[in-house]
Amino acid sequence: MDIKSMKNYLYWLYCQFELITCSYLMEPWEKLLFYTFNITMLVMLLYTAYIFVPVHVSMAFQFFLHLFGNQHENTVSVVK
């Protein structure tokens, strides 16, 4: 039963998407064109995110670690 209501909910969400982007009004070939374009853009975006986001996040993490790491060393030297 949960799967069925989940499927209904997803279908309803798809209907909302169709209404908002007016693909509800388009002829089938126009819909094909529109969805192809959208899915291509989305796939490219996800691929770019997959490639670049981990690298950027780890670089940022290292930068902050370096910053705080230096501070820690400075305090240690003062105590000494």
Binding site: W12, C15, Q16, E18, C22, L25, M26, E30, F34
Partner: protein
């Protein structure tokens, strides 16, 4: 609704003029003052304006939610792109062009079909065209029969399947008092007159077309409205567009509401007078224009205007708002101008005995110089009338274009109007008319309250039988019309160019012929479709009114 009154009482009963901020008299923090209406509602109470209003005036136009506006533009953007694509394909003959184009020999001329309205027509209107021009095949009463049609080429052409859809609940016809009937006293009287006089008149009023029935009708209409004299015309649109040029001319000033009907706009333009527009139902804007007109006079010569005519409507059919007539009349008297009131939708529909917006506000019909109305909406007939002083109507009988050139009203139609007016006035010996007016008022209040509780954005005044429900997005216009027809309810949906481009709506016209069961069925289906299409945009959920003593910390509206 009662918040401003009690708050005013709490602050020492200081009457505040319209639009005046009370922040100086001990408001709360951040400039918020109790007693000022919420930003998107207008509640004029009797305390304001020196007691011009004898009843509360509740009108609300909720603001478009930002996200909805953005998504509407997104939808229009996508459709525009696809429109350009289709136009490109049509021009390069990749696709067959099915709409009107210039002939081959005229392709080098200045293009005829380039403006936005034609682009919109080809690429958006055609996609949702099946919601309009639906052929009905029975009397447009509370329920109507419709011929089913399908389109195999995406609404460019339609074919009839041969089936008739019966018993569709009719929420679109202007049948306010339910006089669109095929049986009953009106129909019998009309058929008797048809067998006596025939259908055609074959002449204009000034030549041989002035029947005794017309004289009887005009006396009756004058008595109904409470004016000295009236004149009836065959077409409501033509009443406005042909008579305004007879009343004003060059050297006169017309002050016309922003959202006036096309007939008033056409009449104003035909007359040749100077036209100035004031914001919709906004009395400050009107007063400013009047002051400027009196102080500065005509544009170059600075001579005083020959006449100043204010054009307003009783109920604006696209907004469902009612004109602020007490204030307009007060302004008119102060600045000595004339008032032309178009009661097309409000005659028969407002007022305790159906005599229109003048009776609704408890004013005297003598204050309105020209009272115009139509017989199409509440009387189940066709045509229009103008009522006023005897000199005015005698002048119009001679100088109006409609009287001189248009053929006069058909006798059965005249008889339908006579019978229905007598019924409303109660002169036929029954209380049917009165009961209908009351039923319409009840239906209006009930329907509006239920829709607001469900969470739709509804425009307009609480007492207006025209109920616009906001849709906003272009795909929802088509979807709403189709889904409601699937559920056997006929509605009228409106988009650009009748409304601003993002404010498309579905317009319900209530009728005294609708029973509570029909309204409940309709409301259930509207609720369902509203959930399916996600139309419940309202952010102010009205809690049902409870009869509890008011204290200053309770509010009627809670924001979600």
């Amino acid at each position: 609704m009662e918040r401003p009154e009690r708050a005013a009482a709490a602050l020492g009963a200081q009457p505040r003029a319209n639009g005046c901020s009370g922040a100086a008299h001990g408001g709360l923090r951040n400039g918020y003052v109790r007693g000022l209406p919420a930003p998107d509602t207008q509640i004029n109470h009797i305390v304001h304006n020196g007691g011009l209003y004898k009843r509360p005036f509740n009108e609300a136009f909720e603001e478009t939610p930002m996200l909805v506006a953005v998504l509407t533009y997104v939808g229009y953007g996508v459709l525009t792109l696809f429109g350009y694509l289709r136009d490109f394909m049509r021009q390069w003959k990749i696709e067959k062009c099915q709409n009107a184009t210039e002939r081959e020999e005229q392709k080098d001329f200045v293009p005829l079909y380039q403006d936005f309205e034609n682009f919109y027509n080809r690429n958006l209107y055609m996609r949702i065209r099946d919601s309009w021009n639906r052929p009905i095949c029975s009397v447009p009463g509370a329920k109507v029969d419709m011929m089913e049609r399908v389109s195999h080429d995406y609404n460019w052409t339609f074919t009839y399947t041969g089936r008739v859809i019966k018993g569709i609940i009719n929420m679109g016809s202007y049948n306010y008092l339910g006089f669109a009937q095929k049986a009953g006293t009106c129909q019998e009287a009309a058929s008797k007159v048809l067998s006596q006089y025939g259908a055609g008149v074959c002449s204009t009023r000034q030549e041989m077309g002035n029947l005794d029935k017309h004289e009887e009708l005009e006396k009756l209409v004058a008595r109904f409205l409470g004016v000295e004299s009236a004149m009836a015309y065959g077409m409501g649109f033509a009443t406005n567009s042909m008579n305004i040029p007879a009343l004003v001319g060059k050297g006169c000033l017309i002050l016309s509401d922003e959202l006036n009907h096309a007939s008033l706009v056409l009449g104003a333009r035909l007359s040749g007078a100077t036209i100035r527009i004031f914001k919709h139902n906004n009395m400050q804007s009107l007063e400013k224009l009047l002051k400027d007109a009196i102080v500065h006079g005509q544009p170059r010569t600075r001579r005083p205007w020959k006449k100043i005519l204010i054009l307003v409507e009783g109920i604006y059919s696209m907004e469902g708002s009612i004109v602020r007539l007490p204030e307009v009349i007060a302004l008119k008297k102060k600045y000595k101008s004339y008032l032309y009131l178009d009661e097309a939708h409000s005659i028969g529909a407002l007022g305790p005995s159906g005599r229109g917006v003048v009776e609704y506000f408890g004013l005297s019909p003598e204050d309105v110089d020209v009272m115009m109305g139509t017989f199409t909406k509440s009387f189940g007939a066709a045509g229009g009338y103008i009522g006023g002083k005897k000199e005015l109507i005698d002048y119009l009988r001679t100088y109006s274009h409609s009287a001189a050139y248009a053929s006069s009203m058909s006798p059965p139609v005249v008889e339908q109007i006579i019978t229905s007016v007598k019924c409303i006035m109660g002169e036929d010996g029954t209380t049917v008319g009165r009961a209908r007016v009351q039923q319409l008022a009840e239906n209006t209040r009930y329907f509006r309250r239920r829709l607001k509780e469900m969470g739709f954005i509804i425009y307009g005044n609480e007492d207006s039988p025209v109920v616009p429900l906001m849709l906003y997005m272009p795909a929802k216009i088509g979807a709403f019309g189709r889904e409601m027809l699937k559920r056997n309810i006929g509605v009228v949906v409106v988009g650009f160019p009748a409304t601003p481009i993002i404010e498309s709506r579905a317009r319900f016209c209530l009728s005294a012929a609708h029973t509570k069961e029909m309204l409940d069925t309709a409301l259930k289906e509207i609720d369902e479709v509203g959930d399916l299409l996600q139309l419940k945009y309202s952010r102010h959920r009205l809690v049902p009114l409870l009869d509890r003593p008011f204290d200053e910390t309770t509010y009627e509206e809670t924001e979600d």
